[in-house]
Symmetry: C2
Amino acid sequence: MKSAILRLLKDRRPEFVSGEDICKSLDVTRTAVWKHIQSLREDGYEIEARTNAGYSLVSAPDRLFPGEVLDGLSTKFIGRQVYYYGGVSSTNDLAKDLVQKGADDGSVVLAEEQTGGRGRLGRAWFSPRYKGIWFSLILYPPVGLSAVSQVTMVTAVALALAVRKETGIPVGIKWPNDLLAGGKKLCGILTELGAEMDKVNYLVVGAGINANQERLEFPPEMRETATSLKVELGRSVARAGLLQVMLAEFEHWYQFWLTQGFTAILSKWKEISVSLDCPVHIHTLNKSWEGWAEDVDEDGALMLRLPDGRLQRLVAGDVSIRR
Amino acid sequence: MKSAILRLLKDRRPEFVSGEDICKSLDVTRTAVWKHIQSLREDGYEIEARTNAGYSLVSAPDRLFPGEVLDGLSTKFIGRQVYYYGGVSSTNDLAKDLVQKGADDGSVVLAEEQTGGRGRLGRAWFSPRYKGIWFSLILYPPVGLSAVSQVTMVTAVALALAVRKETGIPVGIKWPNDLLAGGKKLCGILTELGAEMDKVNYLVVGAGINANQERLEFPPEMRETATSLKVELGRSVARAGLLQVMLAEFEHWYQFWLTQGFTAILSKWKEISVSLDCPVHIHTLNKSWEGWAEDVDEDGALMLRLPDGRLQRLVAGDVSIRR
């Protein structure tokens, strides 16, 4: 009911809607309307009330409420089911729990804050309240284990294009799966999965986008390596709107991948990449490499040309671009 | 206490142990001893009781009780924690639950019967009560996603060698992960996992060994394609003893793999294989292939030489060997 009232106010915005109209349209009592208006105000919606005129929505808060995400969402199945939380340990962990409970394909798990946000290899991911878009997608693609890295690359392409479209920032992809702006990290992607050898049982693709942090809101040790959309743009972004574009872009590329295969996406990925055709330093679990980042293969592995001329295939690692 | 009494009877077998000796050794009452002896008899242990002489163990039942598995087990960590069940849906499913609860590395989940035993791609695996060895290993190897197929191959090698050692049956491996005897399926392996791209969170390696089924105990549709150790040998096998050898062999090869890498194991795998250097028919999810099974690569993929001379790499599929 609350979301129906919000819907009504949004549709008529900036006009006033009388309490009586709301009661009639939605078949509720005046008292119920008043309570829901109060509750919306508590959520951060600024609603003006004027005697003999009714209610008018002045502004919506920058929150990722399901109503805000679903309102105007253009997707068929991605994000159609929203699990929204104020604070969680990690949206990926929660998503894995929801998989066990049978969550739908394309469900999105959203949190305003992660207290235990994670990046690759269990590294902490700084996820302060209301400042970023911290979310995980639940997917059940009918593919084998070897296709998993492709989904991470589909995600990187989709999110990069969405951010470019919404903000104009020329974000690039750094292998294997970071989005950079001005050489600093804007977004990380963490794919987790359950599988048998022949068949993926589920994928949880988590992403964290630094949206509205000020430079000084990053911990000092991150200020040289991380950035946010706000830092890059000089203004805040509306997170729900950007999320909608990201979900739509993801659905487009994910369905393209499922139906057309990976080739075109790999080309797109290479086009957006900022860590190809350049000298790189790569740290893997047990070793350091230096060389020329020559190509990425169908499995997402980096083909590194070593100083001695040999070509080394790397499936994972941390890249720094040498300038 | 029950297992301590059993231990004592086993150690002194075939001699009699007086009730008084048991009481003194283990510091229990005569009534307690009597109750435990009764309980052992209910488990199927044949125990003779003679006035003025005491108790003597005549025979142990063919059960996979933790006491039977642990008694004489030579491993360091594989099978040191045993989860034993009369009947379960699937030991792999149970093992995945136990992973969530923090089960130890090397834990083994055992069942006398699986009502929902599964093979690759959700196919049913016939797992009748007391007739086979249906078990799953829980492993946390510090490896990336690309190494998972190697663990399945380590398992196939270890189980094949264990069966050869214990029974003399010249079992062979059919790609990707079946053990055959006389061209028929003796054992299947199903590896499941939780992971992120760079790091396996857990592996559950399930195996089902047809041990003591008679030929006519297989459903009619399986009689041409499946076999058991009993069918091959003409006699029953002691399942707990064979399981001990399999666990020990697995630990050996698994540790070898962790410390020395995959190369030697791949050679061993090829040596035991019965589906290499022969003409094969392969069904994958969407396609049928015919050709010459030429090799298996480091990732466990089959290199199939097609009639037109091209080499096709296949990561999964069902092989039939053309004769």
